[in-house]
């Protein structure tokens, strides 16, 4: 059979398929809801980027790997120690908090004041390190992660929403609310805000700045662990799952690196828009759409959606 003929025929079909207007409202909402669930996970990882960056001015490229480690810790507790799910969540958060503190105390503390380039290289190295160690401990296989919710999808009109997706959205909303209350109403939260606004002034006001660094590393490791536990039931558990951080990074930049609401909105925008683009435009656009959105936003508004144009005074 003439392969070239077939290729030509399908090329024409493919182009007409791409430009054909689609008025499938069910598909739109279906893509919207599942995009929102994935967007929440992007948002949580982006949140981790932002928390650390605001307080310590380090861009932690190992944030995705924090998520992977958190998910594997939870998996080990459930699978090998047979701990019930909700206790596992609490234990995982504590373990990851300890992990964050230790990382800060043992390593990051000695890198304070080093050039930004060294810090970036360090976190990239850390990501590689965590991936390799995870491969050694938990093997390079893929595991199924138990979901806390199960059952049939819930029908909203003709749109089906999976209980897992609802859990992801709900948990993210709850976490964001808790973080808001924490930063707004607790002394620790206010001290953290002060540190991220002006380290020197915070230090003069009697805030333990170094202690705040540890807290923020712990906090972002915990947020990453939540993201991992939410992501793993639908998208499985393996040592390379941290690569999703590559999608979360544009989300953080999109929201204005350094803005917490920006990270959430950025994550949701990326998650939803790439899903819609993949469904309604060309299928392969989905994989690059996050970066297209990012470039577009950076051209129009270089400081990001929620970013404040800051000038450093020396």
């Amino acid at each position: 059979m003439d392969t070239n003929y077939i290729r030509r025929r399908y090329l024409i079909a493919w182009i007409s398929d791409a430009i054909k207007p689609r008025r499938d409202i069910v598909m739109f909402w279906q893509l919207f809801t599942s995009g929102m669930a994935l967007g929440c996970v992007y948002a949580l990882i982006a949140l981790g980027f932002v928390l650390i960056y605001k307080a310590t001015e380090v861009i932690n490229f190992a944030q995705g790997e924090f998520m992977m480690v958190g998910a594997f810790v939870a998996f080990s507790l459930i699978h090998f120690a047979h701990v019930p799910f909700w206790i596992t969540v609490v234990l995982t958060l504590l373990i990851m908090a300890a992990f964050g503190v230790l990382l800060d105390r043992l390593v990051m503390r000695f890198l304070v004041g080093e050039p930004a380039f060294s810090l970036v290289m360090f976190t990239i190295g850390l990501a590689l390190f965590l991936r390799s160690v995870a491969g050694m401990i938990w093997s390079t296989d893929t595991f199924a992660f138990p979901s806390p919710v199960s059952g049939e999808a819930i029908q909203l009109g003709s749109v089906a929403i999976a209980p897992g997706d609802m859990l992801v959205v709900g948990a993210t909303a709850l976490l964001v609310l808790l973080l808001y209350l924490f930063f707004r109403f607790t002394n620790l939260g206010i001290a953290l805000q002060a540190t991220s606004q002006n380290q020197f002034a915070a230090y003069l006001m009697g805030i333990n700045v170094e202690g705040m660094f540890s807290v923020v590393w712990a906090l972002s490791a915990m947020v990453a662990a939540v993201a991992g536990i939410l992501l793993a039931p639908t998208l499985f558990l393996h040592k390379d799952m941290g690569f999703i951080g590559l999608k979360a990074f544009p989300a953080a930049v999109l929201g204005g690196f350094g803005s917490i609401p920006g990270a959430i909105v950025g994550g949701l925008i990326i998650g939803i828009s790439e899903n819609l683009a993949g469904g309604f435009l060309l299928p392969w656009v989905k994989d690059i759409f996050a970066y297209l959105v990012l470039i577009a936003v950076l051209i129009v508004r270089p400081e990001g959606l929620f970013g404040i144009h800051e000038k450093k005074k020396v």
Partner: protein, 400 residues
């Protein structure tokens, strides 16, 4: 002084010549009177490490068994395995190491088509045969390459067999076909096969969905295929992706017939997919291997020998490696006692419908480097120890 230097030259020259003279006339690199060195390159630490460990473990077991039975013409097989973490540049480096430092006789079983193609020029220059790359890429055997022998049916053929099966055996009447594939070379092969099959049967190919390697979310791809009204989905995927796609289909309550290519016919896919593997109107795979429980003598021997050398239970990829090793050993046997690389190539060219009982019957000639075009059809069943794939039909080739 002049005499002295001249004498020195003579001594050097004689020493130099005698160095070659003591070597036996027919000896080939990597072959001694007691052993044959074979090099393998697989992924032991990367994304498909379980495949690499599986196939090399299976082949290693077969070689151990042959060695314990006395070897081939009194020579034992030494199987050296290198790790490339599924990276073509590392695979090329590993091939160079095996050829130059370890001095292997031939390369056997390289996991991955990009890896095999990347190292092929190096092998050709050195005159080292590459036997049975563990991939189903069509470029392995098309066009035929002198130093490369490939047994597996490629993905173009597999797509045709899959559509054949849906029309002829499942009796689907003018199904609307969708295809989802990983956007790389093997995926493109599969797409090509599906297109040709649709052309042949005059079927409507309503959706072509693709994804990049490493994609974790398939909601837009599934929504697209569902919205196009597809009822037969042809898929070229690896391990995590089919489970993700099947789960997504459950989520949006869509029940097509799924037919998948070989890489996804592993039990780990079913473990990840859980009940979603049984949600649709059927889930089938074109398998390149006779699956052991369809009893045949080779399988019986495999299952008997396996526990002698291994503590872990056997799996699909072990069985694949076993089959490849069987082909390798048959070639070495046919090449005879005076083993040379060129002799090995001639020996493989004598394969005519050679039955391994693992792969379909294998034929290689001077101008034909693909071994077989036949696959079996597999389907998952639920068992006491989780779901597993079983064979539901014998070896069949494409009907067009």
């Amino acid at each position: 002084m002049k005499v002295k230097r001249c004498a020195f030259c003579w001594v050097t020259a004689i020493a130099f010549v005698s160095m070659f003279a003591v070597l036996p006339a027919f000896a080939e690199i990597g072959v001694t009177d007691t052993e044959i060195k074979i090099g393998g390159i697989v992924d032991l630490s990367g994304p498909i490490a379980f495949m690499g460990k599986g196939v090399s473990g299976g082949a290693g077991t077969y070689f151990k068994m042959i060695n314990d039975e006395g070897g081939i013409d009194g020579r034992k097989i030494v199987y050296l395995v290198e790790d490339d973490s599924y990276s073509p540049p590392k695979a090329v480096a590993a091939a160079k190491k095996l050829i130059e430092r370890d001095k292997v006789f031939c390369i056997f079983m390289v996991l991955g088509s990009a890896q095999s193609l990347a190292m092929y020029p190096t092998l050709e220059r050195a005159g080292v045969p590459l036997i049975q790359p563990a991939t189903q890429n069509s470029r392995m055997a098309f066009p035929p390459k002198k130093y490369l022998f490939h047994a597996d049916p490629n993905y173009i053929v597999q797509a045709k067999i899959g559509v054949d099966y849906a029309i002829k055996e499942l009796k689907m009447k003018a199904p609307k076909v969708a295809v989802i594939y990983q956007d790389d070379e093997p995926g493109q092969d599969y797409l090509k096969g599906v297109r040709e099959a649709c052309e042949h049967y005059k079927l409507e190919l309503v959706a072509e969905a693709s994804y990049k390697r490493g994609t974790v979310d398939f909601s837009s791809q599934v929504a697209r295929m569902k919205s196009a009204g597809a009822d037969l989905v042809m898929m070229w995927t690896l391990i995590r992706e089919p489970a993700g796609i099947l789960k997504e289909a459950v989520k949006v309550q869509w029940k097509p017939v799924w037919i998948t290519a070989t890489p996804s016919t592993a039990d780990v896919v079913l473990k990840l997919a859980g009940d979603s593997a049984f949600y649709g109107k059927g889930y089938f795979g074109t398998g390149i291997l006779a699956y052991p429980w369809k009893m045949n003598p080779a399988a019986a021997r495999f299952m008997k020998v396996w526990p002698k050398y291994n503590k872990k239970p056997w799996g699909f990829y072990n069985w694949y490696g076993w089959g490849c090793a069987k082909i390798m050993v048959e070639g070495l046997k046919r090449a005879g006692r005076d083993l040379t690389r060129e002799g090995l190539i001639e020996a493989f060219e004598t394969f005519a419908n050679y039955k391994t009982d693992v792969f379909g019957p294998i034929t290689w000639r001077k101008d034909k480097r693909y071994g077989t075009q036949q696959t079996v059809i597999q389907a998952p069943i639920k068992g006491p120890a989780g779901s597993r794939w079983v064979q539901v039909g014998g070896f069949r080739g494409p009907s067009f």
